[in-house]
């Protein structure tokens, strides 16, 4: 399979298996992209995650566009983005068609059983990102500041991220 074929396959699977929403999908993307295909290093993956947080759109689609471009240029980014939404599109499309035959009670029950699993996915992604993102004591200070802002303020999360990033920038230039 050529590299574009692999790109399509990987992001199709990520779209198909993206249960639980939000951060739950990070562990899956990271495994495919960093460990299996080695398209990004650990650090580059965190950078893509960071970009995804401060731009519109969900992580699965954002990472597909970014990695698609890095691996296969504009064509790669288009193919990867389409692959990442193909499975959700087909599923929602057909279920809209059959809407009244779907037993949504059973579906929600299945999803509620999946919740401990998605929680474990978030924990493992957080563990890996924590290990890779904090490389020195200055990183520890920035991390604690970020955590403090999350716990103690109601500010918009973009403002929190930018405060920590700006402080990081200053520290980076001073040391």
């Amino acid at each position: 399979m050529g590299i574009l074929g692999t790109l399509i396959k990987v992001f199709f699977l990520i779209g198909l298996l993206g249960f639980g929403g939000g951060y739950a999908i990070i562990a899956l993307i990271r495994h495919f992209v960093v460990i299996e295909e080695k398209w990004l290093t650990n650090i580059q993956f965190i950078d893509v995650l960071a970009i995804s947080q401060i731009t519109p759109g969900p992580i699965a689609i954002n990472s597909a566009t970014f990695i698609g471009y890095k691996i296969g240029g504009i064509l790669g980014s288009i193919l990867a983005t389409i692959s990442s939404i193909l499975a959700p599109f087909i599923l929602v499309y057909y279920s809209s068609y059959f809407f009244h035959k779907i037993n949504s009670g059973n579906f929600s029950k299945i999803l509620s059983y999946l919740r401990p699993m998605t929680f474990a996915l978030v924990i493992s992604a957080t563990y890996n990102i924590l290990l890779d993102s904090i490389i020195d004591w200055k990183g520890v200070i920035l991390f604690l500041l970020s955590l403090f802002l999350c716990c103690k303020t109601n500010w918009n999360f973009l403002l929190r991220i930018f405060i920590v990033a700006l402080l990081g920038e200053i520290i980076y230039f001073l040391t």
């Binding site: 779209g15 298996l17 993206g18 249960f19 929403g21 951060y23 495994h31 965190i46 960071a50 970009i51 731009t55 519109p56 759109g57 969900p58 689609i61 970014f66 471009y69 504009i74 983005t81 939404i85 959700p88 599923l91 929602v92 499309y93 279920s95 809209s96 068609y97 779907i102 949504s104 059973n106 299945i110 999803l111 059983y113 999946l114 699993m117 929680f119 474990a120 996915l121 978030v122 924990i123 563990y127 890996n128 990102i129 924590l130 993102s133 520890v140 920035l142 991390f143 500041l145 970020s146 955590l147 999350c150 716990c151 973009l158 920590v164 990033a165 990081g168 920038e169 520290i171 230039f173």
Partner: protein
């Protein structure tokens, strides 16, 4: 309402889906139900439930389901395109810029600071999830076991997801 209107509303929603997820639901309600009256509130909630049943980003699933309800296949395709376009364009521009400027000191300094910021957000999200889940002993054991397997055996999460999905389906249809 015509297809252009549908397209532009979802472009607008796509631009505003910063941070994503459930924070965006009031925005959908405002745009689709209150301002434009394209759907009644019950229909809106029905579609929202549907959008959450399937894998994939909720904003995207919601766009496809609303598009289908209003304009059938054409509507589903147009809404999907509209909601994805803003994130596609912004990420593409950033990717082109970053791959050229990744050695720049200002760019490197920015990422140096933002990495620990993201780690902080994620640790906080674990805490938030932890608060929301009403923990029982069996749930804690599953969470602990799966986290352990994922972290130390580096097994592809795909298999964990598929096995958990299979077990949950069997549990719902044959167990209880």
């Amino acid at each position: 309402m015509n297809c252009w209107e549908l397209f532009f509303v979802f472009i607008k929603i796509g631009w505003l889906t910063l941070g994503g997820g459930y924070v965006m639901i009031p925005l959908f309600l405002e745009e689709i139900v209150k301002k434009r009256k394209w759907l009644k509130e019950e229909e809106f909630l029905e579609i929202l439930t549907l959008a959450q049943l399937f894998p994939g980003p909720i904003a995207f699933n919601f766009a496809v389901a609303v598009g289908y309800r209003l304009k059938k296949t054409k509507g589903a395709l147009i809404s999907a395109l509209g909601v994805v376009l803003p994130s596609f364009i912004s990420i593409l521009v950033i990717a082109i810029f970053l791959i050229r400027w990744q050695k720049n000191r200002i760019v490197q300094g920015f990422f140096y600071g933002i990495r620990p910021a993201i780690a902080g957000l994620m640790v906080y999200s674990v805490y938030e999830l932890f608060k929301k889940l009403n923990l029982t002993l069996s749930k804690i054991s599953i969470i602990f076991l799966l986290s352990f397997i994922l972290i130390f055996f580096k097994i592809n999460p795909m298999y964990i997801i598929l096995v958990s999905l299979g077990i949950s389906i069997l549990w719902v249809y044959w167990g209880h």
